[in-house]
């Protein structure tokens, strides 16, 4: 119990320190261009390289959703609302969540392993000895990149899923693409899009912050790196689902 409180306490402090360090990292003269360069590198590594996988996975999920739902709706003689269900499920839930899971496997694990290896190789200590704050130099660019790229990935994922649903509907359900698009656009409200993106941003912070935290907590050489990398994936997926539940409950309560 004591260890769990300490663990969450440490994570909370890391988030707090990261929040405090964001401003100075991006605005102060000291090392400013390094922070921006680091942010750019991380956005590329965490986000851009995940785009093809997110697009592929979400395309498949869109198609799967359409094929799962259409037979049920066909029983009532209404196939076109398939697009409504695919759109709502994707924009409110599947888009942010599945993109986040892909980013966890792709970026989260890589961040934890990279920072963990730096801990083992005395690089973090060397950084502190050079009076360079590892939170400002390592954590801030990764967390900001996570936030920004998760939002971008979710938009890509949402569109890919809608396209997957459209292809499945056109090929297998004989639902016209115009009809599909019309239905999807009619049912979607700005709120559906925005709530999905808010969730995505929080997921991005969560994925990268947990990965950095677990990386910095590595002890005991290569074995420690491996252990904390796999723990990162497990902890992050559990955290994503719990936070998703909280968000959905709040949005449900607020009627958004």
């Amino acid at each position: 119990m004591h260890a769990a409180i300490e663990f969450f306490g440490d994570f909370f402090y890391l988030l707090l320190d990261t929040l405090r360090a964001i401003g100075p990292a991006l605005s102060s003269g000291r090392g400013r261009h390094l922070a921006w360069r680091n942010l750019w590198i991380q956005m590329n590594r965490i986000g851009v390289e995940s785009i093809p996988i997110v697009a592929l996975v979400m395309f498949c999920i869109g198609a799967i959703l359409a094929m799962q739902i259409a037979p049920e709706l066909a029983q009532f003689g209404i196939v076109p609302p398939t697009a409504d269900v695919v759109a709502l499920a994707t924009f409110r839930e599947m888009g942010p969540l599945v993109s986040a899971v892909v980013m966890t496997g792709f970026g989260g694990a890589a961040i934890a392993a990279e920072i963990g290896t730096m801990v083992v190789g005395e690089e973090i200590e060397a950084m502190e000895a050079l009076a360079i704050d590892p939170i400002r130099f390592l954590v801030v660019p990764r967390v900001l990149a996570g936030l920004l790229m998760m939002v971008c990935l979710t938009v890509v994922g949402d569109l890919a899923a809608m396209f997957g649903g459209l292809v499945a509907s056109a090929l297998l359900l004989h639902l016209g693409s115009m009809q599909y698009t019309h239905h999807a656009l009619a049912i979607l409200k700005v709120g559906d899009f925005v709530t999905g993106l808010i969730k995505a941003g929080v997921f991005g912070v969560l994925i990268t912050a947990i990965a950095c935290f677990m990386g910095l907590k590595v002890r005991g050489g290569a074995e420690g790196v491996g252990l904390n990398t796999s723990k990162t994936v497990v902890f992050t997926i559990v955290a994503l689902i719990l936070v998703d539940l909280i968000f959905t409950s709040v949005f449900f309560y607020l009627g958004v």
Partner: protein
Amino acid sequence: MPEPLIQLRGINKHFGDRMIYRDLQLDIFPGETLVIMGGSGSGKSTLLRVLMGHIKIDSGQVLIRGRSLDDMDRRELDSWRKSVGVLFQTGALFNSMTLRENLALPVREHTDLDDQTIDLMVQIYLQLVGLREHIDKLPAELSGGMKKRGGLARALMMQPRILFYDEPTAGLDPISTAQIDELIMNLKDKMGTTSVVVTHDMQSAFKLADRLALLFDGKFAAVGSVEYFRTTADPLVRQFIDGRLDGPFVNPSDQCSYKAELLGRKIQEVPHGKKTT
């Protein structure tokens, strides 16, 4: 006698149940090269981490020019760290960066110098350690000795007045060892740096030191000049320097109750490592 630059006053430190220091006392004077020796696991490298403020002590005081490390705020601690260059055991170069980027990093972070000037500095310091032709290599492409020399060049980039060396010659061949020793001596002669060298390489220790200190059982068992260490009859110092197996010196790693575990009895330790059951 000049005022000490660094004073250790009654330092106590435990890692869990394991005692690292008990009432540790030491003064480090400006301009001197102090070599700290001791067995594996005796807390030599930890002491450098304590001096850098990376590890908190249980009790006691680390005074830097009379100011306690504990009383320093983040800005003061950063300023202290910037004034110290540290050479880590492995060199601790950042693996994702080339040598050029590694050396440029601290200067870019802490000064407003333009890139051209920084690059010039990088080349000068790499020339000093004999690595200029490897400037665009990643650490993975360098040998152990080259990594250490690269780490030393990076430590020098902020032109520190104080240098900490953590096992600078461990694992190196005799030629590389001589190169590193030569560098350390040159730095002292040309820049007048204060150096703290942690090592158990006796040849290097005698070559580099103005004073030596032997860490044993959480305390400095002996602190003195090279001459003192060469001539003393203290059995503990003699055993360590001569590398004999029999004597009072016991490595902390050997003190675990191996016999007790085998025999199911507790073996009590007495000072200077003599064991009684």
